[in-house]
């Protein structure tokens, strides 16, 4: 009987079916740790592309996970965890702007460049692309990051950003269009620098 009971808890943690009694502290802890381990990277990257600053992104992720911990019982479907966290993170970011309205002006983008000494072609290209992605208007880069990095489709993104799907698709089109434009104008210059 006891073993049976334990098994039940174990499967509950793994599958996390909408549990009747997810209040158990230990279960909550396990869920939380699983969530952090699985999703902190995605969240951090998303935060980074939202804020363009590593430290701010880190703080944002920390705030997000703290809030997530407090509200963990309200997360019923583990599959929705990532978008749930992204929603929290976006809200936190908005709050950050309410607190302190500073604008992300051009010179901040300089910090996006890692000064790496091992300059393989790939690294150069990544850096160049990062720079270009960072230069996109936020309303273009955000859905693009969600699509490319997050793997969400247009409808998901529309839900997350509270936009209609057509708007999202248009922004995605413009985002890629601008990046392709930039790529086709500049790569020779970039390549020349490193030959």
């Amino acid at each position: 009987m006891k073993i049976f009971g334990k098994n039940k808890i174990a499967t509950q943690v793994l599958t996390t079916e909408p549990s009747k009694n997810s209040g158990s502290m230990a279960t909550k802890q396990v869920r939380y740790e699983a969530l952090v381990k699985a999703l902190h990277g995605d969240l951090y990257r998303y935060a980074y592309w939202l804020t363009h600053e590593k430290q701010v992104a880190e703080d944002l992720v920390q705030e997000t996970f703290l809030r997530a911990w407090r509200a963990l019982d309200s997360l019923k479907d583990e599959k929705a965890a990532k978008s749930w966290l992204i929603t929290i993170l976006r809200r936190e970011n908005a709050r950050r702007f309410e607190r302190k309205r500073f604008d992300m002006s051009e010179y901040e983008e300089a910090s996006i460049m890692d000064t790496q000494s091992t300059t393989t072609e790939q690294v150069i290209e990544n850096q160049w692309l990062r720079d270009k992605i960072a230069q996109l208007p936020a309303e273009y880069s955000e859905p693009l990051v969600l699509q490319v990095l997050g793997g969400y489709n247009g409808e998901d993104i529309a839900n997350m950003l509270n936009l209609n799907k057509n708007t999202v698709m248009t922004r995605l089109f413009r985002a890629r269009n601008q990046l392709k434009d930039a790529l086709e104008k500049e790569p020779k210059k970039v390549r020349l620098l490193h030959e």
């Binding site: 902190h40 951090y44 990257r45 920390q62 290209e125 490319v148 990095l149 489709n153 269009n177 392709k180």
Partner: protein
């Protein structure tokens, strides 16, 4: 914008009936290079250039993905776990502080209640209380105690009750105010035949029922109701309470 729209310059393989024109297709595939929409698939099948563009964009997306995958700080995961642990620890601490405060309040209230029950009206009549009081203090006084209290100092104390004794009732060992069921009373201890005799002068109060005679297996008592106060005599069974009553009656005078 124009320099990469070369697909529109490519020879069209066929169909003017194709539902998707170049611009539409480009918009769709730029918005989602992995699109599996029927229209998009049909357009790709009809036009290799469109298929090529899709492939190109798909590869571009791969590059974007690589670029977007900025390195995640190694310690971030641990930091997150640590911060949560600290936060919930503090929450626990706050909770336990609340619990402590609650427990303290309960303890205080319990103490007050016990106090109230014990020292207030738990005795319903004079007799029971008088007996309890005598038992409680029985070790404080001995019949052969050398201590004596003069009539003068007794009468000084009696003045609180507006009474006085014309002469001494006997050998007075002790005369002190005390709390008699929370009433300020005078507690007299006399030398008796075999053991001390206790006399209480108690203000008249309603909450203790007046009991004329009372006793248990060791002690006996009698109360005298005067207009100003009750006088209670408690002694062992060898003592003649009638005698004491008689003496008190004879020797006490009330000033009002």
């Amino acid at each position: 914008m124009n320099n990469h729209t070369s697909d529109s310059d490519m020879p069209k393989i066929n169909n003017p009936t194709n539902k998707m024109d170049d611009l539409q297709y480009r918009r769709s595939i730029y918005a989602d290079p992995t699109s599996q929409d029927d229209d998009v698939i049909a357009a790709q099948n009809a036009d290799p250039a469109k298929k090529q563009l899709a492939k190109e964009l798909y590869l571009f997306d791969e590059k974007l993905k690589q670029a977007m995958k900025i390195p995640v700080p190694d310690d971030l995961c641990n930091k997150l776990l640590l911060r949560q642990t600290l936060a919930s620890h503090q929450q626990e601490k706050r909770k336990s502080r609340v619990h402590l405060a609650l427990a303290a309040s309960v303890a205080i209230i319990a103490g007050l209640v016990v106090n109230y029950l014990q020292f207030s009206n738990s005795y319903t009549n004079l007799g029971d209380y008088a007996l309890a009081h005598v038992y409680y203090e029985q070790n404080d006084f001995y019949n052969d105690d050398d201590n004596r209290v003069s009539l003068t100092s007794l009468n000084k104390k009696m003045s609180t009750f507006n009474g006085s004794f014309s002469e001494s009732l006997g050998e007075l060992i002790s005369a002190d105010y005390c709390r008699f069921d929370d009433m300020k009373s005078l507690h007299l201890v006399f030398q008796g035949l075999t053991d001390t005799v206790t006399v209480f002068i108690v203000p008249k109060e309603e909450h203790l029922a007046f009991t004329n005679k009372f006793s248990d297996d060791k002690l006996q008592g009698e109360s005298l109701g005067f207009k100003q106060a009750n006088i209670i005599v408690v002694a062992d069974k060898n003592e003649s309470l009638d005698m004491w009553q008689y003496n008190i009656n004879k020797k006490i005078t009330w000033s009002i």
